[in-house]
């Protein structure tokens, strides 16, 4: 039984939430409580399948391929690989992302139990939430570019419907429309570049495309389109304007899963740059090698994202929107690290040619480590803050910072969670944000000192923005209209507590996470040949 589960875990990870999504309305007919338990069980099952897969995968970290319908992945020879079948391929990077994508929905459904109590349309809410989970996990696990497009669309449709879940609020409808326009255009251009690849290489499989890629004129166009589309979906400035609306106007438990979908798009970008174009990144034939161009472009955009996010966060008076602008800045930090890693791509690590042991790591390696660890930290920190903002809204029915005050008296635990969240997001020790931001500061400083200084200064400004919010929302005199505010239900506290515990755990033991989860992911990104040969080298 357990062997069967391990063998088929990649498929089951997507199949379980998908099946659960369509069973939810049926089970909802019985009563709300049974349905909530069912949804929590489904997400719990998905997360445990992911853990099972990780447990099986991590010790030797060789890519796993799961071919749907069985049989070998590759029906051609290794010279002319012809991988026609639909397959999932798991390497260190997807395994890491799958863990994030499994954790966030689990927390979201636990939180929703209290958060959505006595609201209408919950069956549809949970159905869409599970569909979003299935789409997100599919995006992360798939080894096929067209399937990536399909899962991207599943995720976008489900998340758009969830952003506009409160149809009586005109701003959430507006946010939903903005989101669907952005994601429809992004996905269509992604499909366009899939067609460019198919026209040239007769393949949809990422490994086969990566194996054959020649970096000709059409490939350059496809690269530009793919990076633009995926960065737009990931909310990199200047295409960030949908993020504050989408995070700020959707229910908090949707917003936290939305953070996951944004990061899944970011993962898509990483996969395109490092795996599909991995062979051509250090193309010395051209005057400036591609890694430098992409690296500087990403750094320029990420600096813009950090500035936009931080300055607009200081200005906002809406609690959730302010957090959403900080999320824009955090995405900027991740891209900053990726850009720095690309510029230093040739100096990732020095390997002893005789024994094959790693002698020393370059700054590019640390940049990539910091960036990937920051993906996890961003999901946890921004997720926690969004949940806190949701809890404040739940208790007071108020989102404007100016109208809130003195909440610490009645909402002790929420206050503590907010404190943990904002210290983590601004990179204060001993929270998780410190570990990843320190890696980012160090490695970007080596690329250019100015970048490191900007990164540190903007972190301090994020802290300043949050201290302002903390002062005006949780401290200060009691506001008469908020006298009868009570602490939020236990399920919401429990959900926030899980994230807070993970934040502190990573903050105290960053080495454990870096060694066991982040380094395999960095190696997987760096070693595109390993990803390719798992498919093309015969199964």
């Amino acid at each position: 039984m357990i062997d069967f589960l391990i063998e088929h875990s990649p498929a089951l990870i997507v199949a379980v939430p998908l099946l659960g999504a369509f069973l939810t309305p049926l089970i909802g007919k019985i009563n709300d409580k049974v349905r909530n338990i069912f949804v929590i069980l489904i997400t719990l099952l998905t997360t445990s399948l992911i853990l099972l897969m990780l447990n099986n995968f991590l010790p030797d970290a060789t890519p796993i391929t799961y071919v749907f319908g069985g049989g070998p992945a590759n029906v051609g020879t290794s010279d002319a690989p012809y991988a026609i079948r639909i397959l999932f391929e798991i390497d260190g990077m997807n395994a890491f992302m799958a863990l994030i994508a499994g954790l966030l929905p689990l927390i979201a459904v636990i939180y929703s139990w209290g958060f959505l109590k006595d609201q209408t349309g919950q069956d549809k809410f949970y159905t869409l939430l599970l569909l979003m989970t299935a789409g997100m996990l599919g995006m992360i696990l798939t080894g096929d570019l067209f399937n990536f497009f399909v899962f991207l669309e599943i995720t976008s449709i489900a998340s758009c419907a969830l952003i506009a879940y409160r149809t009586d609020n005109k701003f959430s409808i507006q946010a939903g429309f903005k989101y669907i326009v952005i994601s429809a255009i992004g996905a269509l251009f992604l499909l366009f570049s899939v067609a460019i690849f198919y026209g040239q290489y007769d393949a949809l499989n990422m490994a086969v495309i990566a194996n054959n890629i020649k970096y000709g004129f059409l490939d350059k166009i496809a690269l530009v389109i793919l990076i633009a589309a995926l960065a737009m979906k990931a909310g990199l400035a200047p295409m960030h304007m949908w993020i504050p609306d989408a995070y700020g106007r959707s229910p908090a438990s949707v917003a936290i899963v939305l953070v996951g979908t944004t990061l899944a798009s970011l993962y898509g970008g990483l996969r395109v740059i490092f795996t599909i174009y991995g062979k051509t990144l250090l193309d010395m034939g051209s005057t400036i090698s591609p890694n430098i161009i992409i690296g500087f472009l990403l750094i320029a955009l990420s600096i813009l994202a950090i500035f936009v996010g931080v300055f607009l966060a200081l200005k906002r008076s809406d609690f959730k929107k302010m957090i959403a602008y900080v999320a824009v800045a955090e995405i900027g930090y991740i891209f900053l690290a990726i850009g720095a890693a690309l510029i230093r791509y040739d100096a990732l690590k020095t390997v002893d040619s005789f024994t094959g042991e790693v002698i020393s790591y370059g700054s590019g390696f640390y940049a990539l480590q910091g960036g990937i660890l920051h993906i996890l930290n961003d999901a946890l920190d921004i997720g926690l803050l969004l949940l806190v903002a949701g809890a404040v809204y739940f208790a007071t029915k108020e989102t404007s910072i100016n109208k809130l005050g003195g909440l610490a008296r009645n909402m002790k635990y929420t206050t503590i969670f907010f404190l943990i969240g904002f210290l983590a997001v601004s990179g204060m020790p001993p929270m998780n944000g410190f570990a990843s931001k320190l890696l980012i500061y160090q490695s970007t400083y080596e690329v250019s000192p100015i970048l490191g200084i900007i990164a540190i200064l903007c972190s301090i400004m994020i802290l300043a923005a949050f201290i302002k919010v903390f002062q005006s929302v949780f401290l200060g005199p009691e506001i008469p209209s908020l006298k009868n505010v009570r602490e939020v239900p236990k399920s919401m506290l429990f959900a926030m507590g899980i994230i807070a515990c993970i934040i502190i755990f990573i903050g105290l033991f960053p080495d454990f996470i870096i060694e066991n989860l982040v380094t395999p992911a960095v190696d997987a990104l760096h070693n595109s040949a390993g990803y390719i040969s798992a498919i093309t080298g015969g199964a």
């Binding site: 067209f146 497009f149 399909v150 669309e153 976008s156 449709i157 758009c160 419907a161 506009a164 149809t167 005109k170 701003f171 409808i173 507006q174 946010a175 939903g176 429309f177 669907i180 326009v181 429809a184 255009i185 269509l188 499909l191 366009f192 899939v194 067609a195 198919y198 026209g199 949809l204 609306d245 700020g248 106007r249 906002r316 008076s317 809406d318 929107k321 989102t399 404007s400």
Partner: protein
Amino acid sequence: MDVFYVPYLAVAALVLVGLYAVIFKRNLIKIVIGITLIESGVNLFLITLGYKEGSIAPIYTASPSSIMSMPVPQALTLTSIVIGVAVLALMLTLVIHIYRHYGTLDVRKIKEDEE
């Protein structure tokens, strides 16, 4: 110029007109139409890639011609059309809701969410 290139020109025209509509038009319905135009352009691109002159559908065993068109792009297009319908339906639903709230579809008159 070869006749073979005409579909590609149509693809470029459809995508560019669609992008123009999305970026510059003020009416929400026209923005939705723009997205559908881009989608048609991409679908046409996929179909054109798999087409060969004088080819037949790859479903006959005793076929009159040995040239067959590639079935994969057609399968992709079919999937893409189905997804497109879902996205279109969702977008129109949101447009209806926006109209109910604001009584207009002009983006200049729809109040921006400033808070």
